[in-house]
């Protein structure tokens, strides 16, 4: 387990502080990153790939286990969780998304589920997050990009479904061999089509 993730750095409490990091520079960065997923860079060494794969497998496991507070700890403080509403992601300043969360609103999402009254998640959607086709490359010394085929199998109310996605992760170095997630971008294969209950975490 990642060393920083083991630190309980954030409790879902009252009066979260201001969120000031979502600005034009950040949106520009999101757009640039989004356009770069189609080309992978030079693969990182196997040892580093193993560390990263372990982190992402842990992410899937925490989500599938409904351990959302621990899951949040895998993200840097200034993180973004993004599900575009078009197959070619547009500028989120100009077009609504399925979800674009900063840390505060991601915590709101978890806190809503924890109230015990979030009827769309009672019972919760059972999920199996599966990662494949993992490609990892470095951008500078302290940033990694991870492009995956993310397949989410779900079951709820007698119905199974499969959500095929491109899962794009940007990781930030915390220490020598310790990484956390700055961005999780989920491109649904049918982002531009009608969705059912997607009120769980993809």
């Amino acid at each position: 387990m990642s060393a920083s993730a083991s630190k309980k750095r954030h409790l879902l409490g009252e009066h979260p502080g201001p969120s000031t990091y979502v600005d034009d520079a950040l949106y520009d960065r999101l757009l640039k990153i989004s356009a770069q997923w189609s080309e992978a860079g030079l693969a990182v060494p196997a040892s580093q790939a193993a560390t990263v794969t372990a982190l992402l497998n842990q992410e899937c496991r925490l989500l599938d286990g409904g351990r959302f507070e621990e899951w949040l700890n895998l993200f840097v403080e200034h993180c973004i969780y993004w599900i575009p509403s078009d197959v070619v992601p547009q500028d989120p300043r100009r077009e609504i998304t399925w979800e674009l969360q900063d840390r505060r609103r991601l915590e709101d999402r978890v806190a809503r589920i924890r109230t015990g009254h979030a009827f769309s998640q009672i019972p919760p959607t059972r999920t199996r997050h599966c990662l494949s086709n993992i490609e990892i490359w470095a951008v500078g010394a302290d940033e990694l990009r991870v492009r995956t085929n993310l397949t989410i199998h779900t079951y709820r109310k007698g119905k199974q479904q499969t959500l095929p996605c491109m899962g794009g992760y940007v990781l930030q170095r915390q220490a020598e061999d310790d990484w956390l997630i700055e961005l999780k971008q989920i491109n649904l294969i049918d982002a531009d089509q009608a969705q059912g209950n997607i009120s769980f975490f993809l």
């Binding site: 009252e14 979502v22 109230t115 009254h117 009827f119």
Partner: protein, 449 residues
């Protein structure tokens, strides 16, 4: 047996089925579950009312098109080369194939992939390969696409009707025109632009969506997760907290009009102080707020920020157009128990970019924190109504209440009154009772001029 079932009434040849299923105080379950009633709705409701199809900003330029459904019929909403708007049946005049298979785009012509019959964006035939073999067809209009005969744009909102006798749109809107105008006129003439249309597929009848639009009773209960998360994390007196307690004592109200329209007015509570200040915080809030304050000064920034939050009105324009917050909703029935709800997000031309950016984040809030629980309840209603023995859906809240006020353009009632539902179903009943005959054959007679 004390329970009278619809089946028994059918056996007894009830003279007035529509009088039976729609009471002033209750609606029969079959209205939500019967496939034959659904089929009749697609003709009697969606074939005779003014149906909302889309917004002009979705097809801003000549030759733009998008595809939609019109009471189940696949249609293409086009702006032709002269700028005129059409709602074309997406159905080749030859074998019936959909001629346009894309969701949206820009083109001068639709060419059917089957035998290459082609059409311009006015629906008129451009060419038919090896046409000589059809010499027996006298009319050149025989080769055109059929189209919705009456299409109009009310201030950017495109409606169509298959009913040649429908009143003009202004008369049809009746009293709801005034709050509709209020919704459009919130921006000193700034034009509304659709910026993305997330769509939700719901395993429930389309009318659960319209019923809920006028339901000021449910928020405190259905949206308890949203309300308690908000008060836990951000304190009391936040957005929508005014739905708590005895909401009938609030300053909010509903107002109901002719032709099935109604609206819920939350503005007296939501904008009592500052709606922006009460808003659940959206990503980028503090940054863009500071930007606006430094650029425009405290006062002007405050005015602008109020435009980044919802309008505080829920409008139902019969049968399928809803306005909620800053969003436009199109209710799109697919089957008796299957509905798509399109949520058009809107930005406003001429507002500062920071406001429009905040509007995108604000408009993501309710769908993910609130609508998801509404949908859960609609689907649960659909399942519950599968029980044949318990037949009635109640719509009697504040029935014949002395608190109703007849005003010049409509009836004003308490915010939890089911007068909204009763208004909707009175019009629904009138249309279901009527004999609707849609005949578009004249579109295929004569010659293209």
């Amino acid at each position: 047996m004390s329970v009278t079932t619809l089946a028994e009434h059918k056996r007894n040849d009830i003279a007035d089925k529509w009088g039976f299923v729609v009471h002033p105080s209750r609606i029969h379950r079959s209205v939500y579950t019967d496939g034959d009633i659904f089929k009749r709705e697609m003709v009697n409701i969606f074939g005779s009312a003014w149906v909302f199809v889309g917004h002009e900003s979705e097809i801003p330029n000549a030759n733009d098109f998008i595809t939609r459904r019109f009471g189940g019929r696949p249609v293409i909403l086009t702006r032709d080369s002269t700028g005129e708007i059409h709602v074309l049946f997406n159905r080749c005049a030859h074998k019936g194939a959909k001629v346009c298979r894309a969701d949206r785009g820009s083109t001068k012509m639709f060419v059917c992939p089957y035998h290459a019959w082609s059409y311009n964006l006015s629906g008129r035939s451009v060419s038919v390969p090896l046409r000589d073999a059809y010499r027996h067809h006298r009319s050149s209009r025989r080769y055109n696409l059929l189209q919705v005969p009456r299409v109009t744009s009310y201030r950017g909102f495109i409606f169509g009707t298959l009913n040649s006798e429908a009143p003009e749109i202004e008369a049809y809107l009746a009293g709801v025109r005034s709050p509709f105008d209020d919704w459009i006129d919130r921006y000193d003439g700034g034009a509304i632009v659709v910026t993305g249309t997330p769509r939700y597929r719901i395993a429930a009848n389309w009318k659960f969506v319209t019923d809920n639009q006028g339901d000021g009773y449910h928020p405190a209960y259905s949206h308890l997760s949203l309300l308690s998360m908000t008060s836990q994390r951000y304190g009391a007196d936040r957005d929508m907290s005014y739905f708590g307690g005895n909401v009938d004592e609030s300053r909010m109200f509903v107002k109901c009009f002719d032709n099935g329209h109604f609206y819920v007015d939350q503005r007296p509570e939501m904008f009592a102080d500052s709606a922006w200040a009460a808003q659940r915080p959206q990503p980028g809030r503090e940054h863009y707020e500071a930007e606006l304050q430094s650029r425009y000064g405290e006062q002007e920034a405050k005015r602008l920020l109020e435009l980044a939050v919802g309008a505080g009105m829920n409008l139902n324009i019969f049968p399928n157009l809803l306005l909620i917050g800053n969003q436009i909703q199109l209710v799109d029935p697919i089957a008796v128990d299957k509905t798509d709800v399109w949520w058009f997000a809107t930005s406003v031309a001429d507002l500062p970019d920071e406001i429009n950016t905040l509007r995108m984040r604000t408009q993501e809030d309710f769908p993910m924190f609130g609508e998801v629980d509404d949908v859960e309840n609609f689907e649960a209603c659909q399942e519950g109504l599968g029980i044949k023995e318990d037949e009635w859906v109640d719509c009697s809240r504040h029935l014949n209440s002395p608190t109703e006020v007849q005003e010049q353009d409509g009836i004003r009632a308490l915010v939890t009154s089911d007068l909204t539902m009763r208004t909707f179903y009175r019009e629904w009943q009138r249309l279901m009772r009527s004999e609707v005959r849609i005949d578009l054959s004249n579109q295929r007679q004569g010659k293209n001029g």
